[in-house]
Amino acid sequence: MEDMVIIGAGITGCSIARELSRYDLNITVVEKEEDVACGTSKANSAIVHAGFDAATGTWKAKLNVEGNKLYPALCEELDVPLVMNGSLVVAVTEEEEKALEELLERGKINGVKYLSIIGKDELHAMEPNLSPNARAALNAPTGGLVCPYELTIALAENANQNGVKFLLNAPVIDIEVLEDSSFLVKTPKGSIRSKYVINAAGLFADEISKMAGAEEYSITPRKGEYLIFDKHFGNLVSKAIFPTPTKISKGILVCPTVDGNIFIGPNSNNIEDKNDTSVNPPGIKEIIEGGKKLVPDLPLKNIITSFAGLRAVSNTNDFIIEASKKVRGFINVGGIQSPGLTSAPAIAIMVREILQEQGVTLKEKPDFIPQRPKKVRFRELDNKERSKLIEQNPAFGHVICRCETVTEAEIIDAIKRPVGARSIDAVKRRTRAGMGRCQGGFCSPRVLEIIARELGIDPLEITKKGPDSNMLVARIKEFLQVEGGDNIDN
């Protein structure tokens, strides 16, 4: 029997798993997708928020500010790139300029440090590509950037090193409460008995809570669409540039990523289908118009890809982090929308404290390893370091992804690491192979070949992102044999 089953391997579930892996507990993370970070955690604005935005007194506000403070040490420990380059909230009208004052006050009450309002000249000196209409900004130096899937993967890897098991491709279909008040968490890949269940199922947390007979709440998917530009234009802005926020959303931003691209987005539309991550023309139009209000000259001919993510918005409009009063041992961690990424490290600690209150004995493991296995990013090294690496392992001398300079050794490592990559997209998230301007045109056949070789499986089995997403459908000539050689169907 497990001590803990964590449902959902997004940033929340993996943060909790990693936090709990410090203690002598048997833990399994159950995830419906083929990899960690496949839901909201892979498609969001990738910002470590300062914390001035959330309404004072909410869990969002409290955990944002606490989470923000935990980020530098966490990212250092897990070798995850973090840039604390600050955020700007830009006002383009007099009315918005007044709203900045409110934001500043709220930020101060929330406990955000070093906030200030800067005038037009200082703002334009800081960000020369901003619209001439930009008249003032709230400057939040404690804002930052992080790659959300890289952090989630790092947390999962480290949790796995410390004994946490990951059951992937395993959607939870039922949760039974047994006589001894333990749980039986049922998936098509088998059932797991556990003393506690932590519900970090993101968009589906409401359904999981209902399944266990715990408190009922609702999660509404709120879609945000994004466009990403070629790295060549990476200097368009140097910080996350927010418009002055509305009641519903922080608005459409123009923002750098930790990897040197610029994105615009997200818009914010409530939808019904929790699986609908499609990008639509009205959305693209909306984010381009929104982005142009901040930076009029967007390099629209150099868009490399678009994507959409779904925020998991609860009916309380705040995070729901609590032990169920109805079902003993069931902990809800739902409604984790923005600033969920920033809050994740603080949420993990809060869940640990809830478990302690529930009577879980937490005995620290003497052999806890705080660092994940060393990860090489060839493109970021100097030539001396590169030489040394190739001498140790010639596969570092074989560049597979040209756009992002990713070597064969890094791809093999992504497959062999804890919670290793099994698909083209999983390799992409771990190495950036295929994330550049050619979007995998050149490297995807090579990556496919490497995965097949390393795992000893048929290339026909290799998927883009898990079951039913096979890259290839047959060997050549197979269609002809089936049709008896009478091949050309006119």
Partner: protein
Amino acid sequence: MVTILITKNLVVIGGGPAGLAAAIEAKKNGVDDVLLVERDSGLGGILQQCIHNGFGLHVFNEELTGPEYADRFITELEQMGIEVLLDTMIIELTRDKKIIAVNREKGLMQIQANAIILAMGCRERTRGAINIPGYRPAGIYTAGTAQRFVNIEGYMPGKEIVILGSGDIGLIMARRFTLEGAKVKCVAEILPYSNGLTRNIVQCLEDYNIPLLLSHTVVDIHGRYRVEGVTIAEVDGDLKPIHSTEKYIPCDTLLLSVGLIPENELSKMADIQIDNLTSGPVVNQRMETTIPGIFACGNVVHVHDLVDFVTMEAQLAGKGAVDYLGEKEPTTNNISVIPGEGVGYVVPQLIDADKILNKKQNFFLRCRAPMEKARLLVESDKGPIRSKVLRHIRPSEMINIEIKKEELAGKDIQSLKISLQEEGVIEGD
């Protein structure tokens, strides 16, 4: 480990048709110390996956397949003993011609060259670049990636296929998929005319009854994990989809053949000036970029329709590099070539009239839109040079104009403008 230091008279970057011809030409004309660097495991570039025929009509007067065409050059290169580094990626290039290359065996190499020829070719425009909405499932491939899967790896990436864009690789793949027993449902082209060569429309689509839907585009991609279908729609005169014409087509694969982009990451690293119209380096009469001693040829300069023209351009670059290595006087690039009305781009963009090779200068250009009858005008700031009527011109077919050296040299010409003016077609004209 110390980085290996190498000095070379000439380094050619890229072992496709352009790089091969350029290296051979330079060696033939007396450069002994030539090194060709290729990132793939073999020479020939994209030709190796172009197993259809139609290559070589201009250069060899016969129809060859891609690998056959490449093989002629590879054999010659080997016989000449030109040094080749395979599986080698160049990760840095500076304007003073310092190269950092990397491979498995030698590790990191620093190569100092006296002259460099860039022949990196091009890449395919992707879904992101044209902003097709919808989901992001498996089953969306650029035509060239699909071609590699089928012709090199021996796998079929799909069985029921819709092709967006009528570029030549897409047309070729329509036929290839059909011959393999897959069903190509249609080719949708957003423009009112095709982007491929006429012969490919006939031989790859019409011969197999594959519909070519002009003024149509893909407005939605369906399927979360693997493509399940696409929605196509007709577009209006501003290329905006017309909602009422939307039509769902079930398929498991969407192939994109929506254009090629010269691959100039290294050129940009070396501060070489890029022409916004071609997306390739600005070059002069001998294919020299704005950095003296760095040359460029083939699809890295502008996207060609026929490999034969790539070869010829590469030979010019090879000769140009030879001249550069032997000369004392720098080039002056005194004439700038301007694309006028109706012209999409012109290559070369600069001319040093005194250094025109072969006593003639070829200009390659594309029209902006198809014209049934057009007047081509070549004018300098000193007066008209050439006027000529062209028929049935389209953007997909490159126009080649030859001007004699004496028409340009010694006349103190500053600029040259090439334009295409549509002329009315009179009955019986």
